[in-house]
Symmetry: C2
Subunit: 333 residues, 2 copies
DNA sequence: TATACTTAGTTAAACGTTTACTTAGATGGG
DNA sequence: CCCATCTAAGTAAACGTTTAACTAAGTATA
């Protein structure tokens, strides 16, 4: 049978309240002798506190929910790691939810998390989500969104990156290097992220006076498969392009594959810029020039912020727009 | 204030037991009318059951712990996805723990998981773990180990891959293709996984009568950094080698980088084989020949197995040794 | 008509903690 | 010596469920 606080109390010859107090370091009013005796019995019995019982009364589970589209997408492990490290430092634990960009799955996970009484949720919205469901709005725990934002919704906290500016700088760089026929393979355009990156792409052209480029947009879905296929498409249709600004690195790596297959050189024939700076961007040859997102930091900050919200700290900054950084490597000349 | 089963009972005019029964579909003995009325009130009030409270009495949290070294290592997201999908199908939820191959962190997570009363733990041991701590042995919930096993320990369940055979086949393939000077950059050799792969490497040479190769082993740590550095080392020390059998794909990709930098062609000058078949193996150019591990399936099976163990199903298979598969791509001739 | 059985519930204990409140005894001040 | 204060505990309610045991009313059986 499992040993409980009650057993410890009996064995030590004190009340359970006393045991509870020493466990929780509320022991200013406990004498050294009793405290040491309790501690000794706890150790000898291998007592492990039952946190579900204490959650019952404290109404805190010390658990956070992390909802992301897919941990298998290389952008997310870093972010998840950041969240986990931040949470862990404060003694919190993380429930992982992969929504697969599926709104229904997202909803059902959201409900599960509420049932499990998590103290807060860190949320990277499905790229298909454009609005909030009633279930979401009914949520009475803090939520902070990371990376992707939902237009028109006020969440408690928000951590994003300046996607428009990041894209703008990347495309400016391409233009400055002399590339003139840039195509953009984007993510799904109903997500704000993809829209913002496209907006940066447009503004760069506008400011540099390079036009028209209306048909230089190809909508993808952030996967390397579509990156590959769209690039193959461009080549086989003899489209005249000299560079690719990809909505993320996965798309860019798909493009790499297509170009390699067609024996087109990077960056001599075609320049490529990605977005995210996933782990592989550096490993691949040539190294992928890309817009770095501080994904680990985003996760870490999200954890910090949600913990502050949970503790009702005030005066905290509830919105962070982090800076991107252009990482110039070998895929651009 | 949060709405509880008690409110629902009052509003409907029945006892809380009745409400509980309809919630849990133990309603054979409940009339249609009351059931519908209860359901209606539940909906209208937006009632969400408090699973912490029910865990208290059922002694089930419907939560699993997943302990892995690092979700940031591309091998693990797939595995984690498999676990999550398996767990989710049965209404279970996953607590993610990254041990960083740090025994102390592993211990403290283990304790946390016990405190949170998870119903079972899926465990990929730290590569540094060679023995089980008392905390681990005290565990009174099912544990299944995936991928890495701990020598001399009997866990309830075990899911592995035949690493020796996978390595054997890979190295045989290299030898069959005419490669004769194969170096092996391994993982940390105190892990059984790394040892087994090395054993396969040795056996292949033995069976093909190619010897001696005692000094063809370089110990790495499963990171691309060491893969890169060791390869650079080989080249700069003018070691005579014609191919690399890498302990995992990350090492192999590090080697890619080194070889590209030194303008050495793959596979013409140097052939490379990796292990795992991570996502990138296919994307990279040339495609990486590698030993595929069914990581998603391993995770999924682990989830299945632990759920069976939790339910005390008997007659279940408690040990799976899955097959690897050599994926021949462009990095070998 | 008495008895047994069925139906549709209700009652109350239990799960393992935390915590506000109480208490018994010791100490100190006037 | 009496009252107030302090110290080191103990008491018991509460958290929101589940579930075994009970019950009251109706129905079928002999």
């Amino acid at each position: 049978m499992k040993v409980t606080i009650k057993h410890i109390a009996e064995l030590t010859g004190v009340s359970i309240a006393t045991v509870s107090k020493v466990i929780n370091h509320k022991d200013e009013k406990i004498s050294h002798q009793t405290r040491d005796r309790v501690l000794e019995v706890i150790k000898e019995q291998g007592y492990i506190p039952n946190r579900v019982a204490s959650s019952m009364v404290t109404k805190r589970t010390k658990t956070l929910g992390l909802m992301i589209p897919d941990i298998t997408n290389p952008f997310f492990p870093e972010l998840a790691r950041g969240v986990e490290d931040g949470a862990n430092e404060m003694g919190y634990t993380l429930i992982l939810c992969n929504s697969d960009n599926d709104l229904q799955k997202e909803e059902s996970y959201l409900e599960m998390l509420q049932e499990k009484m998590v103290d807060g949720i860190i949320f990277t919205a499905s790229s298909r989500r454009t609005t909030m469901s009633p279930a979401f709005l009914r949520l009475n725990i803090p939520v902070v969104s990371v990376d992707r934002e939902i237009e028109g919704l006020k969440l408690e906290g928000k951590i994003t990156v300046d996607n428009e500016k990041g894209a703008f700088e990347a495309v400016c760089y391409l233009l400055d290097q002399g590339y003139r026929k840039i195509y953009h393979i984007s993510g799904p355009l109903l997500s704000k992220t993809a829209k913002d990156r496209y907006a940066g792409f447009l503004r760069a052209h506008k400011e540099k006076g390079i036009l028209p480029i209306e048909d230089h947009l190809i909508e993808g879905n952030y996967t390397s498969i579509l990156g590959y296929e769209h690039t193959i498409g461009l080549i086989e249709n003899h489209v005249d392009f000299d560079s690719l600004f990809c909505g993320n690195d996965l798309i860019a790596l798909g493009a790499y594959k297509a170009l390699h297959e067609k024996n087109i050189r990077i960056p001599e024939d075609i320049g490529i810029i990605g977005f995210d700076d996933i782990y592989m961007a550096e490993i691949v040859s040539p190294g992928l020039t890309t817009v770095r997102q501080p994904s680990y930091i985003m996760g870490y900050k999200a954890a910090e912020m949600i913990l502050d919200l949970i503790k009702h700290k005030d005066g905290i900054q509830k919105e962070w727009v982090l800076e991107t950084k252009l990482m110039v490597r070998g895929s651009t000349k």
